[in-house]
């Protein structure tokens, strides 16, 4: 019998008992509290700011404003352009932009002081939608900015000089004009997609503490090393002097990826000379970032047999006031609008423009939901016009496994046709009728293969896995625990996965793009393998036996019939019963045994199928059955994988039916939890099924692929396709609210000849 191994507890237990410490639960001795004064205007010059009365309020410690920026090493920051001031400087570019941050002894005093700041603006002409932003005489939000290359994502943005367009990305293959000339039919439709709030249940919260030239930040950050990098630039600090610690995070979905309020809060601490905590309200979180809205026009040519000859796409994204990661969203929207189809002739132009609205940013499958909404809606429109069954129409055009979406991309590593079959079966297993609406997706996750891990085997047999991969609820800690347990042949209960901390844990690019299972999973596997080899060598040497006579068993090493616990092994080897083995690994683009030269490292695929019920008197729609299918290679954490698919699908339901962060005259009109509706328990499909396809053919540990984003993609087009098929109405503008459905029904009935 192996010896007893101490258990480490686990974070799921902490979460159900209320003991899990989230970013907003952090307190630091001497901490003060910050509240933010925000711009009420979409675009304006700040002509006067007088903080005298606010500073005079008892309990106010300091006020940060644009005047302080001159003393910072780099007052403007960004991921593709340094376009964003740490706090508004001389002008504001959207309603909600921070213009002053009051630091006080209590949140209430800080809040009260906001009303005492005397600030005057001169309004400037503004633009609150991307169409206006690209008009020739549109007011400009920014001057000509220098693109930063390879700073966060690989590559750089290609802005159009003299315009608001901060990114222009094009794909051109073959000859679309010739294809359209010889086509039997050419279809052109425009689909629109609104800005959408992330609505993580925990609004952004950051606590920052400057001590001399050292800065410590506790942040609910998905990308702690990106936060570290930007903070080091803003304050002129060495990376080693910027420590980013990530407690539990109450939801991310991309809204806490790259860098958000961290520079602002750190600057407040720098100004105040005190640790400062800033906890946004949910309303403020909705003014911090959002998914980019889009308008997508597709022109698709088909021959008489229903084969797609060519596709043109004009994608225009509403980027908001600062670029953030919008340039990457622009690229991905272009790649993702193609779909898993064999199309020889492509002409895609994808642009993102600055507007005086909440900054656009990464959100679960960047550019994916916008692109798939358009493409999969049009697939059904074309099928209907050609009087071909929509599933059959897809079959005629689908790429086989190994087919290429683009020559520059890795061949498709999934069988979408087979996945459609599974979706259809799952739907009929839950009810009599076949699916009313189907949609498919294949997206290319922007996975940067750069990230490390330490696996520390401690003397009592417990194991610490250290990686900067943030658990935002997707279950990455369970994935890493399982990988380490399997590689080291230890009980998972003996393994603790530590939270991200840039001071103690190796670099990782960040948590997003479905990359952690593959990249950090491999890093942990490699580090555990390194620890394993060291342990076996140590045992062979200390016990004076051949290397092949010793093996790892739970809690120790075994030599034939005898099991030697780790503390006894260390005692024999080191003279005391202490010490540890440190396994380490860094996954890089040139990792041995991996093919990381081609992008994407794997395809994230999804099929969704649904049936719906509609109250034609009110336009109220319910999804009665939903099936989601994903090819994920291998589920290292099966419960987590299924949960990711289900949760993504319900986020997709929100995108489809309810969610729209709306602006009228530049003013956000529903950026509150009352005005903005996300799905609740009563909204979910009455019956739902998730099918995970596991062929162990992914690049990650045990053949895993990344996952977690794809399930969102097919939902909106599948519902729209169901509405068209069952009720004869075609909606091309999200969300599909009861009012829009009702109006479409009225229009349908008035069209009767």
């Amino acid at each position: 019998m192996p010896p007893d191994v101490p258990t480490t507890g686990n974070e799921r237990l902490d979460k159900v008992t209320g003991r899990a410490v989230f970013a907003s639960d952090i307190t630091v001795p001497g901490m003060a509290h910050g509240r933010i004064l925000r711009s009420p205007l979409p675009h304006a010059k700040i002509v006067k700011m007088d903080c005298t009365a606010a500073l005079a309020l008892e309990g106010v410690v300091a006020i940060l404003s644009g005047e302080d920026l001159a003393d910072l090493a780099q007052p403007y920051w960004g991921l593709y352009f340094n376009d964003r001031p740490v706090i508004a400087h001389e002008k504001v570019r959207y309603v909600g932009e921070p213009v002053a941050l009051v630091v006080a002894e209590t949140p209430a005093v800080a809040q009260a002081a906001l009303d005492r700041i005397d600030i005057d603006y001169t309004p400037l002409p503004f633009i609150d939608n991307a169409g206006d932003a690209i008009a020739p005489d549109a007011p400009r939000l920014h001057g000509n900015l220098e693109a930063i290359a390879d700073f966060y994502f690989k590559g750089q943005a290609r802005p159009v000089s003299g315009t608001n367009i901060y990114q222009l990305y094009a794909i051109s293959t073959g000859d679309t004009a010739a294809a359209e000339a010889e086509a039997a039919r050419v279809f052109e439709h425009t689909y629109t997609f609104p800005g959408i709030a992330h609505y993580a249940m925990e609004p952004h919260c950051v606590t920052a503490a400057f001590e001399g030239d050292r800065l410590t930040v506790w942040s609910g950050a998905q990308s702690p090393t990106a936060v570290q990098k930007v903070l080091s630039r803003v304050f002129g600090l060495a990376y080693a002097n910027v420590q980013v610690i990530v407690p539990h995070i109450g939801g991310g979905f991309g809204g806490k990826a790259s860098v958000k309020i961290d520079p602002l809060v750190a600057a407040a601490s720098w100004k105040a000379g005190r640790p400062v905590r800033v906890a946004l309200t949910q309303e403020e979180a909705m003014l911090t970032c959002r998914r980019l809205g889009a308008s997508i026009t597709l022109t698709t040519a088909v021959d008489a047999n229903g084969i797609i000859l060519s596709k043109r796409a004009a994608i225009l994204l509403d980027g908001g006031a600062y670029a953030d990661t919008g340039p990457a969203v622009t690229v991905k929207a272009a790649n993702r609008v193609i779909g898993p189809y064999a199309i020889k002739n492509l002409e895609i132009e994808s642009r993102a423009a600055y507007t005086n609205t909440v900054p656009g940013s990464a959100f679960r499958s960047i550019g994916g939901p916008q692109a798939v909404w358009a493409t999969e809606s049009q697939m059904d429109e074309i099928a209907a016009a050609l009087e071909i069954d929509p599933v059959d129409f897809r079959h005629r055009n689908l790429l086989p496994r190994g087919g290429k979406v683009l020559d520059s991309l890795r061949p498709l590593d999934a069988d979408i046709s087979e996945m459609m079959g599974h979706a259809g079966q799952a739907i009929t297993s839950m009810g009599d009728r076949p699916a009313a609406g189907v949609a498919v997706a294949a997206t290319d996750p922007g996975v940067l293969p750069l990230g490390g891990a330490l696996v520390r085997l401690l003397a009592d047999g417990s194991v610490l896995v250290m990686a900067n991969s943030a658990d935002i609820g997707q279950g990455v800690r369970d994935v890493l625990r399982n990988v380490a347990a399997k590689t080291l042949n230890q009980d998972p209960a003996a393994i603790r996965v530590a939270g991200p901390d840039t001071a103690t844990t190796p670099f990782d690019w960040g948590t997003g793009a479905s990359r952690s299972t593959v990249i950090i999973g491999l890093a942990v596997e490699d580090a555990a393998q390194d620890a394993r080899e060291q342990l076996l060598a140590l045992a062979a040497s200390a016990l004076e036996i051949p290397l092949d006579g010793v093996q790892l068993v739970p809690g120790g090493v075994a030599t034939g019939s005898e099991t030697i616990p780790f503390d006894r092994l260390f005692h024999t080897a080191f003279g005391i019963d202490s010490g540890e083995i440190v396994g380490r690994a860094m996954v890089t683009p040139s990792r041995k045994g991996s093919d990381f030269a081609t992008s994407p490292l794997f395809w994230e695929t999804a099929v969704g199928a649904c049936d719906i019920a509609l109250d034609e008197d009110t336009g109220a729609l319910a999804v009665t059955r939903f099936a989601g299918v994903a090819d994920i290679g291998h589920a290292i954490n099966p419960a987590g994988a299924e949960g990711q698919e289900e949760g993504a699908a319900i986020q997709g339901l929100g995108h489809a039916l309810y969610e729209h962060l709306a602006f009228i005259d530049g003013q956000p009109v529903n950026a509150t939890p009352i005005g903005y509706r996300i799905p609740a328990a009563g909204d979910v499909p009455h019956a739902a099924r998730t099918v995970l396809i596991e062929n162990a053919d992914g690049p990650g540990p045990m053949g895993a692929k990344g996952m977690g984003e794809g399930g969102l993609l097919p939902v909106a087009p599948a519902i729209a396709n169901a509405l068209a098929r069952r009720y004869g109405i075609r909606l091309r503008d999200l969300p599909m609210t009861p009012e829009k459905i009702w109006r479409a029904l009225r229009e349908r009935d008035s069209d009767v000849p």
Binding site: G9, E11, R12, L13, D14, K15, V16, T17, G18, R19, A20, V21, F22, S24, D25, H198, Y199, A200, M201, E202, P203, H248, I249, G250, G251, G252, F253, A279, T281, Q282, D471, I472, G473, Q474, G475, A639, G640, E642, G643, Q644, E646, G647, A648, A649, I650, Q651, T672, P673, I674, I678, P679, A680, A681, G682, V684, A688
Partner: protein, 155 residues
Amino acid sequence: MTASLDLTFTLNGDAKTARVAPNTLLIDFLREACQLRGTKRSCDMQICGACTVLVDDRPVSSCTTLAADIDGAVVTTIEGLGGPDGLDPVQQAFLDHNALQCGFCTPGFILSVKALLHANPAPSHEEIVEHLNGNLCRCTGYHKIIDAVESLVRP
């Protein structure tokens, strides 16, 4: 505001007294004065249920309740349910059914379910779903939460 109120109440099984300012919110009283941080702040306007606590076995949004209103009441927060070595059946059901992801909404959901089962030990499926409408979760898609509650009612 210098006036203050003296409260006598029961918190997680212990008799307590406290002096609070009349405008103190229950969420702030619990999180700051009592250092019970399992009660989570999210919407601040009684929409999301993350701050749910039990007052006399009824679910209450502590973000929009005055601390003064718990005078004489029995208050239960997530910390008042089972600890790691003796989970409440609702906590265990959430674990068993993987009814949590990020976990931020989880204390509120668990207490909300406690209140449901206290008032109605055998709710129908529709009653469960209707009750859970008062709590928002952005991660799970709700199916596993509903399954967890169903497992307690119809094992």
